[in-house]
């Protein structure tokens, strides 16, 4: 039996392969003639089978054998990628995931047998892929281009042996690319600047070609283009090639697999380091000892570098979770009998690993909702003159220190009158609220609210948008909804880049200090004279022709003591709204290690957490979106009263 460590390694590898396979399969559904995808699916099947066999999972290996064979036929063009093949391969992929979850080899596998029987039926009636051209006889040549790592020579590698081997197996023409050679004075004789392009006889197999690079696999950038079929009308008619999703880490970069907990631990340590550094800086400043202050500055620089580095290690592209969404849309489309497409944009946008992990469920829920409630059924769409295929678009992008994730559909939009009726029925709003009320749509995020007329298997479970909102708020994010009747709904999530350490602005009210997340701060202005003694406290500031409501934190937080004669207003933004926060003094920037509040305080909405200051005191972090929402409420009240 395998020891625990080997087992963990196997699980991790097999898990990654299963996911990568799913990505390729789903992409293949849309681009059935994409060689790269076919190769990638084959490669994953092949490696998965090999890994399974190596780790004693003969059941996985033997189950996958037939699929490997099928994809080999797809590769050589004797079989086409059909939606049935993709669907069947996806269920095979799920079956393998199940087998792996079992942990032990499975002796009897009726489910697997059934999938294989369906595969056999499919392959017997298979037709050759259209792109394979009139006949299977390969013409032309493999186009192989490769780059060896620059330190190959320094490490004793001999590229000429690779060239010799390529010639031996049937390379017709080998050219060196010289564009990478720098000017003479910059040349390092031990560095390899050349890369090569070779044409290799089509009768040679890809494995043979790869074999030539056996001793140079580390850092090798190898691109193999299959022999071109004589005519390729089918694929070229498909229009310009779409940008391809990143399927596998780029070859040439060496990667390392690290358990996520170690990264969490590392982040904790960095948090402690940043706090200790703040204490040191505080002590150094008090001591007025120049030598100590200079060391403290060095440590500060290092700690900041360490923080940025650690956070960048933790950054994960949102593309890491999108395969699940593709799969979900595929499955939901089949379940509901609605043709659907999922458009993904900005998959390269990165967020902290924890944020990404905790974003998956809410997004799954939103996508399911869009597919189920948002998009009309096919007949309705046809009647409305809309394309029959419903479109769901998930896009991500940066906006300052936040990431915006929007999910939109081109469905019927949210029915405001139904939202209003339901909200009144549930006692969420009084009947006096008009139908064009701004805040009406937001009611869908209230607990227990659900407008679907029929409870469906997919999304009508009574819990819903309120759970989504809570999950997003737990990530210190906000959620917003916009909808246009007949045109669709857009849900916008704003998320912080990280949950661990932020840049903060330390402010003082009375003798108490608080942190405002710097990313939310627009500017700081002096409180105008005429507002200085305002007791009732709240009014508007005229900032470059726009009126900004402001809150006196002093009264909001029930601070004691007299206000500073020169109070400042910190202008903060959340979403599209700006408000001013009146404070006594600005202390300065503060590296803020966020500590969650205990359950005893987690209900206090004005604070998103706490942090430690250089002198060891605890400071609370103000929750800007919450304060802005109050400022907005205040503005509305004032307008109504006027």
């Amino acid at each position: 039996m395998m020891d625990e460590e080997t087992l963990t390694l196997f699980r991790a590898e097999a898990g990654a392969l299963v996911e990568s396979l799913e990505t390729s399969l789903l992409a293949l559904k849309d681009r059935p003639n994409d060689r790269e995808l076919i190769d990638s699916a084959f490669r994953d099947l092949h490696t998965l089978k090999g890994t399974g066999a190596m780790f004693g999972r003969a059941d996985v290996a033997s189950f996958l054998h037939d699929f490997e064979t099928a994809f080999d036929r797809v590769r050589d063009g004797s079989m086409a990628v059909t939606p049935e093949l993709v669907a069947l391969s996806l269920s095979a992929r799920d079956h393998v995931a199940d087998l792996l979850r079992a942990g032990e080899p499975v002796a009897q596998d009726p489910a697997g047998q059934e999938i294989l029987a369906r595969l056999a039926a499919l392959t017997d009636g298979a037709v050759p892929a259209p792109s394979a051209g009139p006949g299977p006889e390969p013409q032309g040549a493999w186009q192989v281009s490769f780059t060896l790592p620059p330190d190959t020579l320094a490490l004793g590698g001999r590229p000429e042996l690779v060239l010799e081997e390529l010639r031996r197996i049937g390379a017709r023409r080998i050219r060196a690319r010289v564009a990478g050679i720098p000017p003479l004075e910059e040349i390092d004789p031990e560095n390899l600047y050349l890369s090569w392009v070779a044409e290799i006889d089509a009768s040679v197999t890809e494995d043979e070609i790869r074999g030539a690079f056996l001793f140079h696999e580390d850092g090798l950038d190898l691109r193999i283009e299959p022999p071109a079929p004589p005519s390729d009308g089918e694929t070229s008619a498909a229009g310009p090639p779409e940008p391809k999703p990143a399927l596998a880490p780029q070859r040439g970069t060496s990667l390392m697999r690290v358990p996520a907990e170690r990264l969490d631990e590392m982040m904790d340590r960095v948090g402690e380091l940043v706090i200790a550094e703040a204490r040191l800086a505080d002590l150094a400043a008090r001591s007025r000892d120049p030598a100590l202050m200079s060391v403290a500055e060095d440590i500060q620089r290092l700690a900041t570098g360490m923080r940025d580095n650690t956070m960048s290690i933790r950054m994960t592209p949102i593309g890491a979770i999108t395969p699940r969404f593709r799969r979900l849309v595929h499955d939901v489309s089949a379940d509901l009998g609605k043709p659907l497409t999922l458009d993904l944009r900005g998959e390269e946008t990165e967020l902290d690993k924890t944020v990404i992990d905790r974003l998956t469920d809410p997004l799954m829920h939103l996508i399911r909702n869009a597919a189920d409630h948002g998009l009309e059924n096919t007949e309705t769409r046809r009647a409305l003159g809309k394309p029959e295929t419903g479109r769901i678009t998930l896009s991500a992008g940066y906006s300052g220190a936040e990431v915006l994730v929007t999910l939109s559909d081109d469905g019927g939009g949210i029915d405001r009158s139904r939202v209003r009726a339901r909200a009144i029925e549930r006692g969420l709003i009084p009947e006096s609220v008009p139908e064009n009320d701004e805040g009406l749509l937001k009611l869908i995020f209230e607990p227990g609210f659900s407008t679907a007329e029929t409870v469906t298997k997919l999304s009508g479970r009574g819990v819903g948008m309120d759970v989504v909102r809570r999950s997003i708020e737990e990530l210190r994010g906000t959620i917003d909804v916009a909808s246009e009747a007949g045109r669709g709904t857009t849900i916008t999530l704003r998320l912080p880049l990280t949950l661990a350490i932020i840049d903060g602005l330390l402010i003082e009210i009375g003798s108490e200090r608080f942190v405002v997340p710097l990313a939310a701060v627009d500017e700081i202005v002096e409180l105008p004279e005429r507002h200085r003694d305002g007791e009732s406290g709240n009014a508007f500031l005229d900032i470059r022709t726009s009126l900004v409501p402001f809150l006196r934190l002093r009264s909001l937080l029930r601070a004691t003591g007299d206000p500073d004669p020169h109070q400042k207003v910190v202008i903060v933004t959340s979403g599209d709204d700006r408000i001013g926060l009146v404070v006594d003094r600005i202390v300065g920037n503060h590296q803020t290690v966020i500590k969650q509040l205990s359950p005893l305080h987690s209900g206090l909405k004005s604070f998103s957490g706490a942090t430690l200051l250089g002198d060891g005191a605890v400071a609370l972090i103000l929750d800007v979106p919450n304060l802005v929402a109050r400022g907005r409420g205040l503005a509305e009240e004032t307008v109504e009263a006027a």
């Binding site: 005893l600 305080h601 209900g603 605890v618």
Partner: protein, 178 residues
């Protein structure tokens, strides 16, 4: 909810820490005690109920500081020269929660055996009986073992308007506990 072992059917001899609060002697199980702190700088939490109105830094962790005078209906008082903070680990919802509690003075770790325990009087007690785990005797004084787990669980589950999950106005002054 009860503190582990203290009012079991056959209570074993337990190590407890005795301390004074508002002229009364209280005790908590020594197994729950992490450390005793000298008074340190505390941070007020605006809007928090008086029972847990402050935060304190305990070796890099932000820990809520509770004042048992509130649930035990003792008059509020200022810190004396002997004042200490007991940092405790209290089981709550299946997890250990670290909290600090204020004490006027901390005496010692002592053993309280079954013979030292008294019946909890059902009437005449100033304190809500569900907050008292046991009453014992120590150096000729009555010593009360408050049921901290019950006190905190009660606070978290508390009636609307007092529980921290109550409503959106976390900044509004909360009514007094109990």
């Amino acid at each position: 909810m009860t503190q582990e072992g203290i009012n079991d059917q056959a209570p074993a001899t337990r190590n407890v820490v005795t301390f004074d609060l508002c002229g009364e002697v209280l005790a908590v199980p020594a197994s729950q005690l992490r450390e005793v702190l000298e008074p340190v700088r505390v941070t007020r939490v605006p809007g928090a109920p008086p029972f847990v109105a402050e935060l304190v830094n305990v070796r890099g962790a932000v820990v809520p500081l509770a004042d048992l005078r509130v649930p035990l209906k003792m008059p509020p008082g200022a810190d004396g020269p002997e004042a200490r903070i007991l940092v405790l680990e209290i089981p709550l919802d299946g997890q250990e929660m670290v909290v600090g509690i204020r004490a006027d003075t901390v005496h010692e770790v002592t053993r309280i055996g079954p013979a030292d325990l008294e019946e909890i009087p059902t009437v005449g007690s100033r304190w809500p009986p569900r907050f008292v785990a046991a009453i014992g005797r120590w150096r000729g004084h009555f010593v009360t073992l408050p049921d901290l787990a019950a006190i905190f669980a009660d606070f978290l589950a508390g009636p609307p308007g007092r529980a921290p999950s109550a409503g959106s106005s976390g900044l509004a002054p909360e009514p007094e506990t109990t």
